[in-house]
Every structure is written in structure tokens, then in C-alpha cells.
């Protein structure tokens, strides 16, 4: 369990667990710095149509997520050089870039996997029996959970994410949380699924109508992934 202030250090340390999370390969460079790579989408760019357009998915994955990966690698490379030069000031200056781009890489990696093609079995809450039972216990019904989650998403001011998380500790209760910009879920909470509320996630299709995006995202939530994360059997490292 790592807290937000040393996320940069976690990322800089290149824990092999993180490759399990993002599914990316680690390429050892000559500097001894291991590069992150953009994970492949587990479906085609148009698979989420008509709820999320292929154009959005392609830009979001191949441009936005790629930029987080590229900038994370650049920051890590500079960090390795700063460590080698014993340049503490530069190491400190790089923390924010590592946190932002590392968070962007982690969040989008989780997001792609907690979405599923329109009409697939994974998009049915029936694929998440244990999770749905826990949701009903917490919010009374799946419908009232969805209402609460949607309202939370629409209340985000500026760029950020909404998450359903399983809290750390023995109780392991469910909770809705938001993270700003590209802050990842931390503190041992397990992200079950996340929804990207940056404007780039919906603007080309929904324009300022973000309520419609939020309504439609429910049609492509991957409940199978959600169930696996909830039961701890996803094989992903979802906590930092």
C-alpha cells in the first residue's frame, strides 16, 4: 500500500506488479529505465458504438492515453538521469509530472478494461452476482446505486474520474469516490470500475450534454471485470 505522496517513487521503482495492472510490456533501456507501453484495447474502436463513438475511442486511446505513457516515460527517464547526477531539485520537480502521467496511464488502463462491447454478456449486471448483492446491500438497489454514481459523476467540477471502490480493511465496504485530474485511487481502496469525466471522453459525440454520456456509459460497463476486481480474482494489481 502506497500513499499518494510517494506514488512517483512507486512508479519510478517500476514494480513488476504494475505491468500486471496495465498489461504493458517493460522494455529495459540502456539507462536501466524501463519504459511503459500503451496497452492494446481489449476490443475494436467501434465496439462501444453507439454509446461511445469510434472516433472518441481512437483519439482517447491512441492519442490521449499514448501521451500519458510517452510523458510518463520521458519524466521517468529524466528522473533516472537526475538520480544519477544526484540532482535532488530536478528529482523533486519531476514528481508532479510522474504523478500526473502515471495516474493517467493507470486510470485509462483500468477504464478500458471496465468497459465492454455493446450487447456483450459482460455488460449485464448478471455477470457480477456477488458485486451486485453487495451494491444492493449498500444502496438498497442497483438502480439507486446507479443514480448516486451518476449524480456524483455530474457533480465533478473540472476534469476527473468517478470510481466505485472496495474500501481497504476488514469491512471492505463499497464506496463511490471521485479523483481529480489524473489522480489515481490510492490508500488501498480497490477500484471496481471508473468513469472518465474529462471532456475528451465524450465531447465529440455529446458536446456539452454530459448527462447523456453518463446515462449511456451504463450500457457498456463491464460487470464481469467489475466482479473479478471485487472478488480479488481479476489478476490485475488494482491498488498501488
Amino acid at each position: 500500500m502506497v500513499n499518494i505522496s510517494n506514488l512517483w517513487q512507486y512508479l519510478a521503482l517500476q514494480s513488476p506488479l504494475h505491468s500486471t495492472l496495465s498489461g504493458d510490456a517493460f522494455n529495459l533501456t540502456k539507462m536501466g529505465f524501463t519504459a511503459h507501453t500503451l496497452p492494446a484495447l481489449p476490443y475494436a474502436y467501434d465496439a462501444l458504438e453507439p454509446h461511445i463513438s469510434a472516433q472518441i475511442m481512437e483519439l482517447h486511446h491512441s492519442k490521449h492515453h499514448q501521451a500519458y505513457v510517452t510523458n510518463l516515460n520521458a519524466a521517468l527517464e529524466s528522473h533516472v538521469a537526475a538520480v544519477a547526477a544526484n540532482d535532488i531539485a530536478s528529482q523533486i520537480a519531476l514528481q508532479q509530472a510522474i504523478k500526473f502521467n502515471g495516474g493517467g496511464h493507470i486510470n485509462h488502463s483500468l477504464f478500458w478494461k471496465n468497459l465492454a462491447p455493446t450487447g456483450s454478456d459482460e455488460t449485464s449486471p448478471a455477470a457480477a452476482k456477488e458485486l451486485v448483492a453487495a451494491i444492493e446491500k449498500t444502496w438498497g438497489s442497483l438502480e439507486s446505486f446507479k443514480k448516486a454514481f451518476s449524480a456524483t459523476l455530474l457533480g465533478i467540477q473540472g476534469s476527473g474520474w468517478g470510481w466505485l471502490v472496495k474500501e481497504a480493511g476488514d469491512g471492505a465496504g463499497l464506496r463511490i469516490v471521485t479523483t481529480k485530474d489524473q489522480d489515481p485511487v490510492v490508500g488501498g481502496d480497490v477500484p471496481i470500475f471508473g468513469v472518465d469525466m474529462w471532456e475528451h471522453a465524450y465531447y465529440l459525440q455529446y458536446l456539452n450534454g454530459k448527462a447523456a454520456y453518463v446515462e449511456n456509459i451504463w450500457n457498456v460497463i463491464n460487470w464481469k471485470t467489475a466482479e473479478a476486481r471485487f472478488s480479488g480474482k481479476s489478476g490485475e494489481k488494482t491498488e498501488l
Binding site: 483519439l59 492519442k63 490521449h64 501521451a67 508532479q96 500526473f100 467540477q157 473540472g158 476534469s159 476527473g160 481529480k180 485530474d181 489524473q182 474529462w198 471532456e199 475528451h200 465531447y203 465529440l204 458536446l207 456539452n208
Partner: protein
């Protein structure tokens, strides 16, 4: 500052002052009718900033996004007023984040529309006179200032704004960025702002925000900026 607002809703004065929102300098370009914020008219047509900012962006940005901030501000003010009439100050205070967000959104966009102008009219070029002198002395040159502003814009992580400001206490010009819709306040007078939210450019520039940050210099209204500078 709108006397109407203050006359009809004296309670708001304290609330607004306490929240750091709606400073007099920023109020100059804001519209209030009978104590309510209203959407100001754009001083040019939606298509007037093309090809640098598309007509579709301008229309959505003004008619939908800015309108939403106006509505959110009015609704926050109403809730505060209502809470006040019931003596429920806890409730009134709980509205502060909404007041800051929507009030800031209204202020920022009102300032933004006016510090833009069609390239065929007052937009683009470089400032002259006292403003040019101040930029040269505080940034080295206009070019350096523009580069620093673009670097600041590119470095915004998430949604926000970059502003050329005058520091009233020091008397110097500077650059500040603000997250989301946080307004420029305190010792700073906002002279020129650039909206770095994705809705400001995405339909035209998609993820290529650096192109938007380059293009917008063609439609900066230096007359407005100079007037704000002289008044500050």
C-alpha cells in the same frame, strides 16, 4: 460593481466577499439584471473568430457552457439567500464550492469573450504603448511573454485557465494559472485570460491543444487588455 445586485441582496455581499468571488475588477464586464446574473452578449458573431476558433465552438461555449455557469451561479445565490432567511448558515456555507465554481465560470468567460476579437478587427498583433512597455520590462519581450504563457497553458493538468495579471501591490505584470473555474483574485487584476478547458478547442483541435494555444494569439484583443491595464 453592480449596484442592483448589492441593493437587492445585501446578504450576498458578505457571502461573495468571504468566498473571494466577484471582485470589483472582475465585475466590470458581468451582466446582472435585478440581482440575477445573465449571459452577456458576445461582442462579435459566433463565426467571427474563424479560422482560429470555429463558429461551432464559440456557439456551444457561449450559449451552452457559459449559460450553465450563469444558471449555476443564480441557483447557488438563491440557495444561499434561502438558507440565510432561515438562519441556516451551515447550509449557506456548504454552497461555497458551487458559488466559487459557477461564479468563477461566469466571471472568467465574461472576461474571456471581451479579451478576444476577430483577426480582421482588433484581434491579434502585439500590444503597444504603456502595456507593451510593461510587458517588455516584466517579461523581457512580447515573444518571451507569449512563450511563457503557452508553456503555462500546456502545463495545466486538467481543466483551467492561464492569465496575464497585474499584481496590484507590486505593480508588476505576471502569469498565473487557475484550476477549473477558480477566479483570479487577491492582489491580482486579470488582464487577459485563455480558457484551457477541452471544451474551448476540442471540436476543432481535438487532442492537439498546442495548435489551439498557438492560434488564439491571432484573436487576442489588445485594446481590451490595454484598457484593463490602464484601469488597474
Amino acid at each position: 460593481m453592480s449596484s442592483t445586485l448589492l441593493r437587492t441582496a445585501p446578504v450576498l455581499r458578505g457571502a461573495l466577499r468571504a468566498s473571494g468571488v466577484l471582485k470589483p475588477a472582475a465585475m466590470a464586464s458581468m451582466s446582472f439584471v435585478r440581482g440575477k446574473a445573465t449571459l452577456p452578449d458576445l461582442p462579435y458573431d459566433y463565426g467571427a473568430l474563424e479560422p482560429h476558433i470555429s463558429g461551432k465552438i464559440m456557439e456551444l461555449h457561449h450559449k451552452k457552457h457559459h449559460q450553465t455557469y450563469v444558471n449555476g451561479l443564480n441557483s447557488a445565490l438563491e440557495t444561499i439567500e434561502e438558507a440565510k432567511s432561515k438562519g441556516d448558515f451551515t447550509k449557506a456555507a456548504s454552497i461555497a464550492p458551487l458559488l466559487n465554481f459557477h461564479g468563477g465560470g461566469h466571471i472568467n468567460h465574461s472576461l474571456f469573450w471581451e479579451n478576444l476579437a476577430p483577426a480582421s478587427r482588433d484581434g491579434g498583433g502585439e500590444p503597444d504603448g504603456a502595456l507593451k512597455k510593461a510587458i517588455d520590462s516584466d517579461f523581457g519581450s512580447f515573444d518571451t511573454f507569449r512563450k511563457q504563457m503557452n508553456t503555462a497553458l500546456a502545463a495545466i493538468q486538467g481543466s483551467g485557465w492561464a492569465w496575464l495579471v497585474k499584481d496590484k501591490s507590486a505593480g508588476t505584470l505576471g502569469l498565473v494559472t487557475r484550476a477549473n473555474q477558480d477566479p483570479v483574485a487577491g492582489p491580482y487584476v486579470p488582464l487577459m485570460g485563455i480558457d484551457a478547458w477541452e471544451h474551448a478547442y476540442y471540436l476543432q483541435y481535438e487532442n492537439r491543444k498546442a495548435e489551439y494555444f498557438d492560434a488564439i494569439w491571432n484573436v487576442i484583443n489588445w485594446k481590451t487588455v490595454a484598457a484593463r491595464f490602464e484601469k488597474s
